[in-house]
Amino acid sequence: MFTAPEGAARAVALLGVQKGTEYLFDDLRLSPLPAEAKATVAGGVGQVEAVVPGRVEAGGFGTFRLTYRAGKEGLPVGGALEVRRSNLDPRWSMPQVSDPAEPGYTTVVASTGAQCLV
């Protein structure tokens, strides 16, 4: 059993095998972080606030604003934010940055004026 040191953001387990022998790695489990540890880790990389409508009509239109505030570690050049949605439905507008008049138009504005790639 391996327990990561306090404050570690991630751990890498190296599993060694003998050449020519088949192994089955079974029952590999990662325990979820306790809430306080999760908050500590998240606090290091930042926090996010969502401004979303309370309800949107099915098939209708909405605007969803997600504000990321960098934590102690900041976000370096080449670092990224991944925005995901909780369901799999593909019938949402695809995000696009080319035409402000079309559905799915997405903008990114950094307080530092940083250039971002969407």
Binding site: F61, G78, A80, V83, R84, P103
Partner: protein, 459 residues
């Protein structure tokens, strides 16, 4: 969880306290925003992951506030009925207020009117959608005249229509026959043995409606119904096909070694062409299934959009749209509250599996079980429906919500995707030529047993 977008910081980096605002559906430039899914869903959320060290693995930040995708305004009235009703016997009707995307709209108020051409409708159905309700109103309806009857409903200016085949009741003696037997009892032909029986009542429109029943503890229990002995779909390209139900004029019982049979035959006119049709129903002594062999032969060159073997509606006149389990091998295993072709773990359009490519079906069967009965349809995928092409199409709709039926459709038809049918279509988009005198054939087994799907035998 699917990635909506990924934002990479180029220069300068963000230090502690700096912000980045991602606006998905920014309408400041005159755009409409983001179009959301057509399906209502509670508590949809966005999750933001941060990848600080460019290793491709993001650390998720605590969940953001969720929001609801709610039904739109009431625009469509659904009128759900069985496909077959018996004259003089009440049958269930449900009215459903829906938005344009098919979501049920609970907050609808208004009086509902329900009528039938001919004026013989009696109903105790609730006549209004109430405040704070479920968006559904239901009750019982009775029609006394046989034939294809059209029910009409309106609420707040929104109208709905639904046809129901009203048949004479199949009133026959209750006793089970120890061996397979075909006989006439009053106005009904019976093909039965100790386990299962097929009842085919004579109507003004001929023989076509049939009921499948299973023996359960010295009583016969309805498993489902056939509204017709098949269907020819004809008509020009670009329009929905005209559907000609196969109702036949002659019935002849017979017997063979260890089996009994019922032959139904007659002619149907479709798009100006006469078709000779026959349906051979065979039941063996110990069998729990009836073999149905359908043959349709045009007397002149014809054009056809689809040829259906007798479509079986499991639960019709019995357990209705309810079920414990439903199975389409290789494609779907559904439990009580799940509908077929639902988007459980699979996204549209791939979730639509009502008429899949025949090669996706791993075992040629469709089945629905509820309580102590299981209804199934089996077929031979190698059968050549026009003498040349094999692999007919199977249709699985549990329940048959595409046509607002309160039962489950298990059907077999030709042609298939191998022959130009678009996947999930129930008829060819353009008619196909059929040569005079060349028969089309479709064979299936309609079965019922006390064995639950995936469970222990109930008897």
């Amino acid at each position: 969880m699917p990635c909506v977008t990924r934002v990479t910081v180029l220069y300068p980096p963000l230090a502690e306290g700096d912000t980045g605002v991602v606006t998905y559906g920014d309408a400041a430039g005159g755009g409409p925003g983001v179009q959301v899914q057509p399906k209502a869903e509670r508590d949809v959320r966005f999750v933001v992951g941060v990848e600080g060290d460019r290793d491709g693995r993001a650390l998720d930040l605590p969940d953001t506030r969720g929001f609801d995708v709610v039904p739109g305004p009431f625009a469509v009235l659904g009128l759900l009925t069985p496909v077959v009703a018996e004259a003089g016997k009440p049958f269930p009707v449900t009215l459903e207020a829906r938005d344009r995307s098919g979501n049920v709209v609970p907050a609808v108020e208004g009086a509902v009117s329900l009528t039938a051409e001919g004026g013989d409708l009696k109903t105790d159905a609730r006549r209004a959608f109430g405040a704070g309700g479920t968006g559904q109103a239901s009750g019982k309806v009775t029609l006394t005249r046989t034939g294809v009857r059209l029910l009409k409903a309106t609420c707040n200016g929104v109208a709905a229509e639904q046809s129901v085949v009203v048949s004479r009741s199949a009133q026959v003696a209750d006793g089970a026959k120890p061996k397979a037997t075909a006989y006439q009892d009053g106005n009904t032909y019976v093909l039965g043995n100790a386990h299962v029986r097929l009842l085919v009542p004579r109507n003004d429109f001929g023989y076509g409606v049939a009921f499948l029943e299973a023996e359960r503890g010295d009583q016969w229990k309805r498993v489902g119904a056939f509204p017709s002995l098949g269907e020819l779909r004809v008509g020009a390209q670009g329009k929905p096909a005209h559907r000609m139900p196969v109702w036949l004029s002659e019935a002849k019982p017979g017997s063979a070694t260890d089996a009994a049979q019922l032959v139904l035959s007659g002619a149907v006119e479709a798009a100006g062409v006469q078709w000779d049709l026959s349906v051979l129903c065979v039941l063996s002594d110990g069998a729990k299934h009836v073999d149905l062999h359908c043959t349709a032969t045009p007397k002149a060159d014809a054009k056809l959009r689809a040829f259906y073997a007798p479509p079986f509606y499991a639960g019709d006149g019995s357990f209705g749209a309810a079920k414990a389990t439903a199975l389409f091998p290789g494609l779907e295993y559904r439990t009580a509250d799940e509908v077929s072709s639902g988007d459980y773990g699979i996204v549209p359009p791939f979730s639509d599996r009502q008429v899949p490519h025949p090669y996706k079906v791993t075992m040629p069967m469709v089945a629905v079980a509820d309580g102590d009965v299981c209804a199934a349809v089996f077929w031979d995928p190698d059968q050549k429906w026009d003498g040349v092409h094999a692999c007919p199409s199977a249709c699985f709709a549990s329940p048959e919500r595409w046509e607002n039926r309160a039962s489950h459709l298990l059907a077999l038809f030709a042609p298939a995707e191998l022959d130009g049918l678009p996947e999930n279509a129930r008829e060819l988009p353009e008619p196909r030529a059929v040569v005079a005198g060349k028969p089309l054939r479709a064979c299936l087994e309609s079965a019922s047993s006390g064995r639950r799907l995936g469970g222990r035998s109930s008897r």
